[in-house]
Chain length 313, copies 2
C-alpha cells in the first residue's frame, strides 16, 4: 500500500528540516545566460520537499537578499523560522555548462555571509523527525545534527571539496546518518573504488544503512547491505538548467518519505520516484521557475507515468 502522495500542506512544526546553502546564482548554458537567480541546495531541497510535507529551511542570507525570493519561499509553504538574515551580501555562485549540460565549470564562488554561518535551530525544528543535511561543510552538518532531539531518518549529501579537505569531519557525519547520498564520481573519490558496487559497499561500511548514488541523466542507485534498487531518470526532451537537480531529487525524496513516516526500504524506493519526478520538473526551467508553478496533480500524474515506464513484471 502506498500512502505517499504529493499534497501541499503548511504547518508550524516542520516534519522535515533542510539545511544547506542559499545562493544568488549566475548561470550560463549553451542556450542562455541568467543573472542573479535564486539558487542554493536549501532552496532546491525545500522547494522540492514542499510538495509532500511541512518543511523548514535552515539557511542564511545577506541584507541584499531580494524580498521577492522570501515571498517565493512563502508561497511554496516553506517554514522560514530557520532563515537568518545577516548584515552583508548573500552567497553568490557563477557557473557555466559547456556543450551538452554534462559538465559544469564554476567561474566564481563568493561565500559572503555564508562563511560565518553557524545556525541555532528554532525549537520547533529540533523535534522534526526528518533531517536533510544538504551539501555544506561536514562541521556545519554536525552542528545541526547535534541540535536535533531524536530524528527518525537523517540524510546527508556531500561533495569533493569536503572529501578533500575535511574528511575526518565528513566521516563523523557519515557514521551518524541513515542514508548517505552523493554523485557517482564523488562516491568513487571518497571510497577509492572505481566499480560502483565496491564503492557503495565501502561507503556502507562507514555506517549508514543506505547509500544513494546519483548518476544524473542515468538515474540513481540505492544500496543497502543486502539489496540494490536501480532507478532510471525520468526521460526529458529538453533540459534548460540542470542546476539543483540533485538537491531537488534529495529534497523531494525526503519530503515524500517524511509525509509517509514509513522508512522501510519499500517506502524509500517509492519516495525516490517522487524525488526523481520533482527533479525532472525542476530542470525544465532555471532556478525555481518551474517548481514555483508546479501543482501536486502534475507531480502525481508524472509519478504515475514514470512508474509505468519501469514496470516489467
Amino acid at each position: 500500500m502506498d500512502n505517499t502522495q504529493a499534497v501541499k500542506q503548511h504547518s508550524d512544526s516542520p516534519r522535515l528540516v533542510v539545511v544547506g546553502s542559499i545562493g544568488i546564482d549566475t548561470i550560463e548554458t549553451p542556450k542562455a545566460r541568467r543573472q542573479n537567480i535564486l539558487g542554493g541546495s536549501a532552496s532546491y531541497g525545500c522547494a522540492a520537499a514542499s510538495f509532500f510535507t511541512a518543511v523548514g529551511l535552515v539557511g542564511v542570507v545577506g541584507t541584499d537578499f531580494p524580498p521577492a525570493y522570501v515571498d517565493l519561499y512563502k508561497r511554496l509553504g516553506i517554514n522560514l523560522e530557520g532563515l537568518q538574515t545577516v548584515e552583508g551580501k548573500t552567497f553568490q555562485w557563477e557557473g557555466v555548462y559547456e556543450t551538452n549540460l554534462d559538465n559544469r565549470r564554476t567561474l566564481r564562488t563568493d561565500l559572503n555571509v555564508f562563511a560565518s554561518f553557524r545556525p541555532d535551530l528554532p525549537a520547533s525544528y529540533r523535534k522534526a523527525p526528518f533531517l536533510f543535511l544538504a551539501n555544506i561543510s561536514p562541521d556545519l552538518q554536525l552542528h545541526v545534527l547535534d541540535q536535533m532531539e531524536k530524528p527518525q531518518f537523517v540524510v546527508a549529501d556531500t561533495m569533493d571539496l569536503w572529501i578533500n579537505n575535511t574528511r575526518e569531519d565528513l566521516q563523523k557525519v557519515i557514521g551518524r546518518v541513515d542514508l548517505l547520498t552523493m554523485n557517482e564520481s564523488e562516491a568513487r573519490h571518497l571510497s577509492g573504488k572505481k566499480a560502483l558496487l565496491r564503492a557503495a559497499r565501502m561507503l556502507l561500511g562507514m555506517g549508514p544503512k543506505y547509500v544513494l548514488i546519483k548518476k544524473g541523466e542515468h538515474g540513481s542507485v540505492l544500496f543497502s547491505k543486502d539489496s540494490i534498487f536501480l532507478m532510471p531518470a525520468y526521460p526529458l526532451e529538453d533540459v534548460r538548467d540542470p542546476t539543483g537537480a540533485g538537491d531537488s531529487f534529495a529534497g523531494g525524496f525526503m519530503g515524500a518519505l517524511a509525509a509517509n513516516g514509513d522508512t522501510s526500504e519499500s517506502a524509500i524506493r517509492k519516495a525516490m520516484v517522487y524525488g526523481s519526478v520533482v527533479a525532472s520538473f525542476g530542470v525544465e526551467e532555471f532556478s525555481l521557475e518551474r517548481l514555483q508553478v508546479l501543482t501536486v496533480d502534475q507531480v502525481e500524474e508524472r509519478a504515475s507515468l514514470f512508474r509505468s515506464m519501469m514496470r516489467c513484471e
Copy 2:
C-alpha cells in the same frame, strides 16, 4: 502471468533465426590480451538465445575455422544447418578497449570469406516465426528477410558504417522490421536528433513498432508510439570484456520472446530482462567463455534478482 523461462532445448526447426557475423577476434583490454577467440554478432546472439529457444545460425566461416568452435555451437544446442563453410579464411577483427572499457578502437578488420557472403536459408529456417538480423549490411539483411515465409516478429540491429554508406537500403530494412535496435550514439546519428526522445520518435516514424536503444552500462530504453520502458543494466562488479554485449542482449531478448510466442509490449519488457541478464553474464569473461558454462538456473536466479532491483511499487 509470465511463461517466459530460461530452458535449454533442441529442435530441428528453429523458432528463432539469427543472421550475423562469425569472427575470429583479437581483443585487448586494460588488463588482458586474447588472440583468436570466437566472436561475431551471430555467435553472441545465438549463444544468448540458446538458453530460451531453438535457435538457428546463419553465417559463414572459412576452412580455417577451428572445429572446437563448431563443437561449442553444438554444445550450446544451436542449429547449424545455416552455417556455411567456404574455402578461405574466416572473418577477423582486432580491437582494443582503452582505460575504462567505455571506448573501443578497431585495429584491424579482415572480411575474408564474409565479403562474398550471400546465404540461402535452409527450408527449416524459412518457417521460423522469429528473426534477428544482427549487425550486417542492410543489403544482406534484406536478402535474408526476403527468404522468410511469414515471420511473426523481426528485429534488426545496425551500426554507423551502414548509416553512413548504405542509408537507402537501411531504410528499407527499417520499414520492414517490428523492432529496430541500435546504440544511443547511432540513434542520434541516424535520426540527426540529439535528444533521445526526439531521436526515437523519428526512428519510429520510419516504420518499426518499437525502437530499442542500447546504452551499455546505463541500460536500454524501449520506445513505442505511446509508451517508454526504461531498463537499467544489471550491475556488475567486474566486466572482463564488453565485446558482444549488445548482440547477447538482443539474442537473449529474442530467444525469450520466441520461447514465449507472445509479442505484446508486456512480453517484450519481460524478454528484455532476460536479454540483459544473459548479456551481463557474457561480459564476465572473454568470448563465449561464460555463456558456454552458464546454466538456465543461473539465468533464472539472476533474472529474479534483477527484477527485484527494479521494483518500486
